[in-house]
Point group: C2
Chain length 226, copies 2
């Protein structure tokens, strides 16, 4: 599907680097919109729409802003800038511990990848058990990118158990029971993201999914050997 | 081995509840000592001795003291007191979120159990690859409780890979590569503790070891089925 991609004028930290764009179909009527595919979720379960927007576009931030813990959440494409450029945005990478720097840099992703992640996550939500049914317009939009939405097919990327939309109800401040997870934690794009239980995502840690499965297979083999 | 168990006079928060005792053999010469079995480790690798003393006797505390995050590390036997009794020690359990309260209560353990945990951990350290050799006196002491120290036999409780004493060198402030872990996270006694890699301990989460193995076996089965 061809998209409008008109610049949406909004002032935010990195707007000079990357203007926010309209992702309605080309030639749409009405106002431009950056996340038109989230409009229905936003009306039926706002926390989920906000989570998708946040996880797809923002780095995970420190729980609090501090000189060596790093900045609060920022746009992932901001992390594509050089240390020197980031200084102009008030972010002094050299002040951060090497581990924190590396972790922030791993969250970097181009704007278009972030949008494709948001589309993927929305598509996956509608494929969950007990998910609300998307309006026809949004269904067509999502399916034009990712194929048919199969109700009841979305599973945790890690443990492969089916996910139920109601798990989103358990989300507490900063501690969602369901998290966006990455098959390879170092890349943020549509092919590499999905949902996972919080405990599964934590267990995966910074391993790729393949490394994780090899690791737990090794554990089982050693445990059974003893 | 019969122990001295004389009260060691020291003033600390819960000294009225539980005096600290001497754990040298009954009829020992010289000064009483609470952790005599740690004296050698204390001289060759102080951080390890301190870690054993801390992990065996103290609750994990909040990273910082705050009204709803809970108190800093306190003695585990302090958590055996009632809410009312704890008030006298300046700890208001009712102010804490239910989850924090439950977590603190799970760390409760009688003093003698904590000492037996310290003995077990010390015994395990000497069984690690590349561990220093214990002086004969300490070796006999530890073996009287737990049987022969088998050099090179101490493994991660979770992944079952052998543990090397040098991993303790990686310990960073608050982020040890090697952690004390519990076969059942809800009980703190010698039969239930051991060492585990930090990443393994995190992956285990609040599952018992049996629940963890069942969980990862389920993951492997489902993943191979897809």
């Amino acid at each position: 599907m061809e998209l409008c991609r008109k610049t949406i004028n909004r002032s935010y930290k990195f707007s000079n680097v990357q203007p926010k764009l309209c992702h309605l179909p080309l030639g749409h009527s009405g106002k431009c919109s950056e996340f038109p595919f989230l409009s229905h979720l936003r009306s039926v379960k706002e926390t989920v729409a906000k989570k998708i927007e946040r996880d797809s576009t923002m780095t995970t931030g420190a729980a609090w802003k501090s000189d060596d813990a790093g900045p609060n959440r920022i746009q992932r494409w901001g992390m594509l800038l050089t240390d020197e450029q980031l200084l102009e945005y008030g972010i002094n990478m050299e002040n951060l511990k090497p581990g924190v720097q590396a972790k922030l840099r791993e969250k970097a992703a181009p704007y278009d990848d972030c949008i494709s992640v948001a589309i993927k996550l929305t598509w996956l939500v509608y494929g969950m058990q007990d998910a609300p049914e998307p309006p026809e317009e949004i269904k067509e939009y999502l399916e034009s990118f990712l194929g048919p939405i199969q109700y009841n097919s979305t599973a945790c990327e890690v443990c492969k158990l089916p996910l139920n939309f109601s798990i989103f109800n358990n989300a507490q401040r900063g501690k969602a029971d369901l998290e966006t997870c990455h098959l390879n934690p170092r890349y943020h794009n549509a092919n590499n993201v999905g949902f996972g239980h919080r405990e599964c995502n934590i267990a995966q840690g910074n391993k790729t999914m393949g490394e994780f499965y090899n690791w737990i297979e090794g554990i089982i083999a050693r445990k059974d050997h003893i």
